[in-house]
């Protein structure tokens, strides 16, 4: 029996029009990501990682090709179903944290649950629990600007987990963090991946991410260059680090 694909893309292309000049950012991406996997998407700046994320997350429409989430073609969804998918099935984490500035940590985590129709008190309890799991039990009532970058990203992780999504999409979650904090965030994500059985897809330049990934998808110029399992990876990491240093 084939493994259960939570995300599947077929011939995914995205072209932006800059004035009249077409810019082909994704040139046909076929990937399959299985339930419970931890995937890293690696590639140089401008290779199309964020664009790919936006397609997978239903945040933008592909020019060509299909995205299936849980075997549902998301192009077939109406606005309401798409919003529901974003609310319940996918959790998003951004490089810039993107917390709602007027809300406390607790309220930020509650928001997706409120949208999803959960009762206020139930949402509050669950948000508190989630914030405790990410180590912010003491900071429930702080506003984002009162928190450090690492703490904000923890809130974002708690928020992404709010509705028990099947997938977490994290676009350079450690991009704005220092080495140590970045490591903590990566391990937190890995922990959530193991404990909650949520598939995690991260885009990153961060080689620390390789250690925890089940597979790494390398993309370059809008195409998949290679896909590697962790076993093969171990040999490569040294090589890549050498590349980067040189």
């Amino acid at each position: 029996m084939p493994k259960d694909a939570i995300v599947r893309t077929i011939g995914l292309k995205k072209t932006f029009l800059l004035g009249k000049i077409p810019l082909h950012v994704l040139k046909g991406i076929d990937i399959e990501i299985y339930r419970g996997e931890y995937i890293s998407i690696m590639g140089p700046s401008g290779s199309g990682k964020t664009t790919l994320f936006n397609m997978i997350g239903g945040l933008d429409k592909p020019t060509e090709g299909k995205v299936y989430i849980d075997e549902v073609d998301i192009a077939q969804l109406d606005a309401y179903e798409l919003a529901w998918l974003r609310c319940r099935k996918i959790g998003y984490i951004f490089q810039t944290f993107n917390l709602i500035p007027v809300m406390t940590a607790l309220e930020n985590v509650m928001l997706p649950m409120i949208f999803g129709g959960m009762e206020h008190d139930e949402a509050m309890n669950k948000a508190r629990e989630l914030l405790e799991t990410v180590g912010l039990g003491e900071r429930l009532h702080h506003k984002p600007f009162e928190l450090s970058g690492g703490q904000q990203q923890r809130v974002a992780i708690a928020r992404a987990l709010a509705n028990d999504p099947a997938i977490i999409l994290a676009d350079e979650p450690t991009g704005n963090l220092d080495l140590k904090t970045g490591k903590e965030i990566i391990h937190l994500l890995k922990e959530m991946n193991k404990n909650k059985e949520v598939s995690i897809i991260t885009a990153t330049h961060d080689l620390k991410m390789l250690d925890v990934s089940d597979r790494v998808i390398w993309i370059r110029d809008g195409m998949i260059e290679r896909i590697e399992d962790r076993e093969n990876l171990q040999i490569r990491v040294g090589e890549v680090e050498g590349e980067e240093a040189g």
Partner: protein, 217 residues
């Protein structure tokens, strides 16, 4: 039975933004961006104060004609007819300026908060939640601004009439009419604010989340 199943599915798939929650969010948005809120609100204050000063001055004159001494009646009647024609377009103009001011300020708010809007959509906000939040925010400002405007306009007019007619004013004080005009002005103030916010709210709701988040301000 089949009906039951589909109903259940609908309920399961609901997305909501409770009014109390929306109200709370709007109120805080206003507070945290106090500077800009003041600009929007003060444009409403000015418009409504102007409207109310004209309306209340009408109320005083009408009341003097009805209850005041004969000697004043004829002169004021002429005055009233003359003023009325001019007033209408002055009022319209001032309210129009109000609407434009609100549209402008709200459009600024949309660009400034584009990322926040995109994020909310990622969390499952429907377009109509975004519209709701912006309209709510604007009507709260409209309400507050109108109340202040009504006070300012009425008091200013009252003082001018008090200076001109002295004690007479107390005996003809048109309380009921003033209250009616105040309610009218406040309603109008809220309606204007909502009208001014509709277009910006629509613009913000229609952005694709990816675009909204990408846009740097």
């Amino acid at each position: 039975m089949a009906v039951d199943v589909s109903k259940k599915k609908k309920i399961e798939k609901q997305l909501v933004l409770p009014l109390s929650h929306a109200f709370n969010m709007s109120l805080r948005s206003i507070k945290i961006r106090f500077g800009r809120s003041i600009i929007v609100t003060s444009s409403i204050v000015l418009g409504i104060a102007f409207l109310m000063s004209i309306l209340s001055s009408n109320a005083f004159i009408t009341s003097i004609i009805q209850k005041g001494p004969e000697s004043l009646k004829i002169a004021l009647q002429q005055n009233l007819d003359e003023i009325r024609t001019r007033q209408l377009w002055l009022i319209s103009l001032s309210l129009l300026v109000c609407v434009v001011g609100i549209i402008n300020a709200m459009l600024m708010a949309v660009t400034e908060r584009s990322r926040e809007i995109g994020t909310m959509k990622c969390l499952g906000a429907l377009d109509k939640f975004i519209v709701e939040l912006f309209l709510l925010e604007s009507s709260i400002q409209g309400f507050a601004g109108s109340i202040i405007g009504v006070f300012v306009g009425t008091i200013a007019t009252f003082l001018t009439y008090l200076l001109r007619y002295k004690g007479l004013i107390w005996s003809i004080f048109p309380g009921e009419l003033l209250i009616r005009y105040s309610v009218l002005s406040i309603l109008l103030g809220i309606i204007i604010s909502v009208i001014g916010a509709i277009y910006p709210a629509y613009v913000s709701a229609k952005m694709e989340p990816a675009e909204a988040i990408r846009r740097e301000v």
